[in-house]
Structure formats: C-alpha cells, structure tokens
C-alpha cells in the first residue's frame, strides 16, 4: 500500500506527497500533460525539442543544471506521445533547490535563440543516433504512419522528419510554452524523506505565485476502425529480415486495457512464453521475438516484432505469428493466465521499491484520474478471466486490424 497525501494549489497545480523516511534522498517529479500527440503535424518532434529547451535557462535563473549539481542533485526528463515528465533526485536537506528551479521554469523560460539553435542540432544528432545509425532503427518511423492515418500517434515522439525540428522558430517555442507549461496542466509528486507540511510550505512559496494560464484544448482526431490489412515492405542494409505487426487496441482507461496487456505477456513475457517457446525454440523461425503494448492514453497498439533466422521467408514467419495469435484463445489455460498475473504483480511490486518509479507512477495515475490507482492496479489485472482473454484476443487478432512492416535485409 502506497500511502500519499494530495492537495491542489489555487492556480490548479496538483501536488502529491509520499513519505518514505528510510532514504536520505527526495524525488521530485513534475509531469506536464503534453506530448507529441499535441503537436502540429507540420512541427512534429516539437514537444521533445521543447523538453531540451527547458534546460536552457529560465526567466530568473540563467542555467538550470549547475545550481542543482551544487545541491548534490541530479535530474533528467523524457517525452512520450502523451506526456512530458521532469524529475530530480536531491539530498533531503537541499529539497528547496528543486522547488526553486522547477517553479522558475514553469513561470517562464529565457527563450534564448542560441539555446534553440544548439538544441536543434543536439536533437538531430539524437535522431541520427537512435533512429538512423542503428540496425532496424527506423522501423517505428515507418510503422506508426502505417498503423495510424489521422491520429497524431502516427508520428513518433522524436518527430517524423528532422526538417520539422530544424525549421522551428522562437515564436513557436513561446506559443508552445504558454499553451501547455502552466500550473493547471501539471502534476507534482514528492516521494522520499519529506513531511506534508514541508511540501505545503515550499509549494505555496514557490509555485502558488505562478498564475494559471489557458491550456490549449485537446481536439485530437479519432482514428477510425481499420477494415483492411496493411502491409509495407522496405529493404535495408541489415543482416537479417525482421517483421513488425501492429494491432489497434483500446485506450488506457478502457476496461479491456489490462486484458490486452496480459495477452502481450502471454505471448512473450519470459522464456516460457508462447512466441519464444514455439517460434524461437520450436520452429526456429526467429532469433528473437517480442510482443508488447504501447500503453498510450488514446487507442494504442499491440505490436509483435521479431528478427528472423537466416534463410527464413518473411511470409512464412508472418504466417506462423498469425497461427500463434489465433491459437491463443483456443489453447489458453488457467495456469498460464495465473503465471502472467504473478509476473505482473512481481514487476509492479519491484517498481515500488524505487522512489523515482513510485513518484512517476503517482503522477501518471493522477493524470489518468486518480493517484490511488497505484494501489488498485494489480487487482485489476487479477480480475481478468480466461473468458476476457478469449473475447478480447478474438477481436484484436483480426487480419483486417493489422499493419505489418516487412523489413528485408539487402542481399550482400
């Protein structure tokens, strides 16, 4: 049971406090309800570029990292399709430094042209490092627009083209900031060696004076149901063919979400899982294979992705994947479902041993509607029945609901 206390400042900032006095460290996690799904289709990758700019100095503090390092702190951030999340770990005595730094950049950024120019270049190198200079690195750049036609999940967080990043200007940076980086669009969690009174005092001192701003409404286009199989083939300089097949699934708050998550675990979580036992070991078609869900807030994807063994035909491999998916509802037994629930409970519980994971989860569940979901999440998985898995997998694993990327190895 993760105990916590919640309060909301007058400007709309939600604050969650989880006390854990066994650690000398405090985790400060700040979630902004903005991700790449909020981007202009002509400026993809902007939310993530913006995350970089958040470290380029704020209105009263010229550099962000230095004062934090001086306080023995460390920080990082990530951007997803749905959220942008900033976090700090700092020795408990220096907690106020975190409040000071984060509140100033919520108040306003420095908006420096120089910082924008340099970070554009850094982000393009990140794009190159992660997506272009790795074997199979561009697969997600191809798969997303195949699976989505209108929803902004059709581009990855890094953006669909580095040109969008290079073309962005300072006015767009300002607009983005004032549309999303406001106290009424953020959730703060403190986890660690703190008291509620201390957090109330510091939150009132540093965050309460920031005025609320109007948040740009999310009018995201809804992806219509896919009615026809989609297949795309590319050829690249890689040693082996690979296959990525994506199926549209329900949104994060749909009652079937946990069912789909367990389906992906039945398929590939652990060495005893079906795809590993049958396709890597039994039929020896793949050298590695994985199934996972994107876990996004709007309707996401369940993806099966694998690298083929030498001389295996991609069509045969794809056929074998579909056979497995169609067999799942027929052959699932109680023991197998119990197994993936046990693994899930274990993974979740291990996550609670880490104060950063706890703080991130509390913020994320609060965004979904209630931080207390952290305490009831395992129960929701426990309630899934064999009937649920059969019903949902039959809906999900329809050929007409699939988008497949066949990633062929160039002959050398």
């Amino acid at each position: 049971m993760v105990e916590f206390h919640r309060f909301t400042l007058e400007n709309g900032l939600k604050v969650i406090v989880h006390q854990d006095d066994t650690t000398p460290i405090v985790t400060f996690n700040l979630l902004y309800n903005v991700g790449s799904r909020d981007e202009d289709p002509e400026r993809t990758g902007f939310a993530h570029l913006f995350e970089h700019l958040m470290f380029g100095g704020s209105v009263n503090i010229p550099v962000y990292d230095e004062p934090l390092e001086r306080a023995g702190g460390e920080n990082n951030a990530f951007t997803s399709t749905d959220i942008t999340n900033y976090y700090i770990t700092v020795p408990r005595d220096n907690l106020e430094t975190a409040f000071w730094l984060e509140s100033d950049r919520m108040l306003s950024l420095d908006f420096s042209q120089r910082s924008l120019d340099v970070q554009k270049s850094v982000v393009v190198e990140e794009f190159n490092q992660r997506y272009l200079n790795q074997p199979y690195g561009d697969a997600w750049l191809l798969l997303r627009p195949l699976a989505y036609k209108v929803h902004p999940y059709r581009w990855p967080t890094i953006g669909k083209d580095p040109k969008h990043i290079m073309d962005s200007n300072l006015q767009e940076v300002k607009d983005f900031f004032f549309s999303y980086y406001t106290p009424n669009n953020a959730i703060l969690c403190l986890s660690g060696n703190v008291t509620i009174d201390e957090v109330k005092h510091l939150a009132n001192k540093w965050f309460a004076p920031i005025p609320p701003r109007e948040v740009k409404p999310k009018n995201l286009p809804k992806e219509s149901a896919q009615i026809e199989q989609r297949v795309m083939e590319v050829t690249r300089s890689v040693p082996f063919h690979s296959i990525y097949t994506a199926f549209h699934m329900c949104h994060r708050l749909h009652p079937d979400y946990h069912v789909v998550d367990l389906i992906s675990d039945i398929l590939s979580n652990g060495k005893s899982s079906r795809l590993y036992q049958n396709l890597v070991k039994g039929k020896e078609l793949f050298s590695s294979i994985d199934a996972y869900i994107t876990g996004e807030i709007d309707e996401g994807l369940l993806v099966v992705a694998g690298i083929l063994n030498k001389d295996v035909d991609p069509n045969d491999a794809q056929g074998a994947i579909f056979e497995e998916l169609q067999d799942l509802p027929k052959s699932l037994n109680k023991q197998e479902l119990e197994k993936v629930k046990n693994r899930l409970e274990s993974t979740f519980t291990f996550g609670l041993t880490n104060s950063l994971d706890k703080a991130m989860n509390l913020c994320y569940f609060e965004l979904l509607g209630d931080a207390n979901m952290i305490n009831t999440e395992v129960e929701r998985y426990r309630k899934v029945t064999i009937g649920d898995v059969q019903r949902v997998s039959s809906q999900l694993f329809n050929v007409s609901n699939s988008s497949t990327l066949i990633y062929r190895a160039e002959k050398r």
């Binding site: 023995g72 460390e74 970070q119 850094v122 004076p209 890689v238 040693p239 070991k281 693994r343």
Partner: protein, 429 residues
C-alpha cells in the same frame, strides 16, 4: 514577492552513513552478505562467482557455461525450468564479464522458497543438452552479427582489444564464428572447475527473515568446491597500454562512434579517488566539460561521457561519444584540448565545489534503498574485494581534494600521446 534570482541555501553531509551488510558463513565456507532493508515484500539473491571469461580456455566458454545453466538439469527440462521461474513471477538474470559471473534472482518474498530451490538445482546440476546449446549458439551468433552493424559496438570492441591486445584475457572478443565451435564438453569442464563454493560469494537483499537465510544454507550450503587448483590469481600481466589511432570504415554511417582512452589502474591504486574526481570534471556528469563543450556549446552530439571501467587487475579510462560524421575531427580536437586544459590550468574553486557536491549526492543515491545498496556492496567485492573504507576514502577525498592535486593527476594520466583513439564511422561526409 520572493526574489527568485537568489538560490536557496544548500548544505552537504559532513559524514557518510550507510547500513553495512551482516556477514554469515554457510557450512561449506561460502560467505553470505545480508542486507535486510525495504518496505515491499520483495528480495533478491546474487551469486557472485570468480568465473569470468578470463578463466576460460576458448572464447565463449564461460558465457555459455553460465547462460545455459537454466537450460536443463538432471531433473528438469529447459521448458520446465522457465515455466517454474515465470510462474512464480521471478526474474533470473545472468551476467558474465571478464573477471566475474553473477547469477541474480529477484522474487516476491512469498515465492522465494520455490524459486531458490530451483536456483540451487540449476547451479549444481546443469546438463547442457546439445539441442539447447546449438539453439543458444545460433541465437548468439545472430545477435552478435546485428550488434556488429553498430558503429558503437565496432569502436568499443576495437578499443578494448587494442588496449590490452587480442590475446589478453581483458582484450579478447568473441567473433560470430566462435559460436560454431563451442562444445558441450567445454561447458561441463568450465562448470566443474569454476562453479564451486570456493569461488562464490552470496548477497541477499530486500525484506526477509531468518527463514530465507536458512533457505540459502539449505540450497547452497552443500555446494561442492570447483576443481580449478589455482584458486584466484593475484595478478594478471598487463603490458604497456595500446595507443595510437584506429579507424574502422562503416560505409554510409550517419554518425561516427569515438572511443579515446588508456589503461589506468585497479581501484586499489592510491590515485583512484582523485582520478575519479578528475574524470567527473572531464566527462562524468551532465555538466561536465566535455558535455558543455561538445553537446551544449557545439551541438555535435546527443551525448558524450568519460568513465572508469574497473577490472580486478587493471582499469580503463575511456571517453565515448557518437557524433555526426562531419563532426568527427572537430570533436577529437576538442577532446584533446579539454585534456590539455586539465593539465595546464587549475580547476576553478567554483567548479570544484560544484563537482564535490554533485559527487556527494551521487554517493547518497548509490545507497538509496536495499537494491542500490546491494549493488554498491557487490561493486566493492567485484574486482578487488574492497571493504567499506573504499567509500569512506572516496568521501574523504571528495571533501579534501585540491586543484593542485587534480592538475598533478591530469599530468600523470591524461597525456595525449598515451591515448588510444578508435573511430568507427565513415570518412565520406
């Protein structure tokens, strides 16, 4: 109105406090370290063997002998074993480096008894079925072939094999073809010679009671000795560090992977704590000189860092980055100029104070919770069997080090002509 231009006051701990592990001895002499801490009902057991790749006769022998332990015992098949660990929601992780092999199992406390029994079985009686070995070899070869497409892998491998020499245990690298030749008999002989009580230390961490400690005795107190007569060597000859420049062409690469560095010393060396601080200033944290210069000022890269890779009888200092191919030479120039600056100019008080504070925070973070503590204690054991005074000594050095001492370190260890430079990428831009 608060004045937001004035930073809140900060303070730093004057002393380092951390819980030490309790030490037990199993009936066969195995040392068991126990870290009983945490609120969640979870625990982890780590088996640390002196059984790294340096003890092998042929490439991949240590790796295969460890990785294939869960692939069949006299009583259970590979599938039964993975079903068992998976059903109880436990996570088995096996890691083999140059000096050590570590087998870790994490589970909820309620499933620990079931999991540790099976762990004991796979450690004592693996049978290495031929079929499993051939599947493992095939997959391993494939994964390595994919890895070798990455410029970072190419540069990293060239760096270590050139530093130590390909024939040296710390410089040897498996090639894809090695997977075709590894045989069952070699796995068995490695197991019987090194996977024994005389080469093992066990660490138990998390929230548990006397019962779990008794289970460790039950499952590992009867482990027999490994037959390797020469127990744990006290030294390993390291000839002069490889130096010079290596370039590996990777046609059409978008970025070059760069590794620059040298052989240094094991962590027992008196210069280690001071050099650790010097390394932090150069490339060991986000605000380091290399990051500020090459990422934050020039935008050549997504990231650059420097680190100390410890071995039991040696140590390596390395700078690692991936940069756009057109930035390769300008980056190298900046790297050497940052080293030169450390040799010729004293580190300013302000920067030194900042790095000291940052490092103290790092030490606190390394002891934040049962599992980070277990990791920190394993790191002590690893390589040099250090004791807790190692951390006290680093803490003390952080508090007292001067810019003169740092300059002395830079002049002793950061000379350009003693560096090895490896680049994997493309000359065409």
């Amino acid at each position: 109105m608060i004045n937001r231009t004035i930073p809140p006051p900060v303070s730093m701990p004057q002393e380092l406090h951390f819980t030490k592990a309790d030490v037990h001895t199993l009936s066969n002499g195995i040392k068991l370290l126990v870290i009983n801490k945490g609120d969640e009902e979870v625990c982890r057991i780590d088996l640390v063997f002196h059984a790294g790749s340096r003890y092998q006769q042929v490439n991949l022998q240590a790796n295969a002998a460890l990785m294939l332990m869960p692939e069949g015992t006299s009583d259970h098949t590979s599938k039964q074993i993975s079903e068992h660990f998976d059903f109880y929601g436990s996570f088995l992780n096996i890691d083999v480096d140059k000096d050590y092999a570590t087998i870790s199992l994490s589970s909820l406390i309620k499933h620990f008894p079931n999991c540790i029994e099976m762990l004991g079985e796979i450690v004592r009686t693996p049978v290495y079925p031929d079929k499993e070995l051939s599947l493992w070899s095939q997959r391993g070869k494939h994964k390595l072939l994919v890895e070798l497409e990455k410029t970072s892998t190419l540069a990293g491998r060239a760096f270590f094999s050139t530093l130590f020499g390909k024939a040296h245990p710390y410089g040897a690298m498996a090639s894809p073809d090695d997977y075709d030749f590894i045989a069952q008999s070699q796995l068995r002989s490695f197991h019987s010679s090194r996977i024994g009580s005389n080469f093992l230390t066990i660490i138990l961490s998390g929230k548990f009671g006397e019962h779990e400690i008794a289970l460790v005795e039950k499952c590992f107190g009867n482990l027999t000795k490994g037959s390797d007569a020469s127990p744990i060597p006290n030294g390993i000859a390291v000839d002069a560090s490889g130096r010079g420049k290596v370039f590996l062409e990777k046609p059409n690469a978008v970025q070059s992977a760069i590794r620059v560095g040298r052989i240094l010393f094991p962590r027992t060396h008196p210069d280690y704590p001071a050099f650790l601080i010097l390394n932090t200033i150069l490339g060991g944290y986000f605000g380091s000189r290399l990051m500020r210069n090459i990422r934050e000022d020039k935008g050549f890269t997504y990231g650059i860092n420097s680190f100390l890779a410890p071995f039991r009888h040696s140590g390596v200092f390395a700078i690692a980055t991936e940069v756009g191919v057109a930035y390769t030479d300008p980056t190298l120039i900046e790297i050497y100029s940052e080293m030169k600056r450390l040799r010729n100019e004293p580190v300013a008080d302000d920067e030194l104070l900042l790095v000291k504070s940052y490092l103290m925070g790092e030490i606190l973070r390394n002891f934040n919770g049962a599992f980070p503590m277990a990791n920190s204690i394993i790191k002590l054991l690893y390589y040099n069997e250090l004791d807790y005074s190692f951390y006290d000594n680093i803490f003390k050095t952080i508090r007292t080090i001067t810019s003169d001492r740092l300059m002395e370190m830079a002049n002793k260890w950061l000379n350009e002509e003693e560096m090895l430079e490896c680049v994997a990428g493309s000359r065409e831009t």
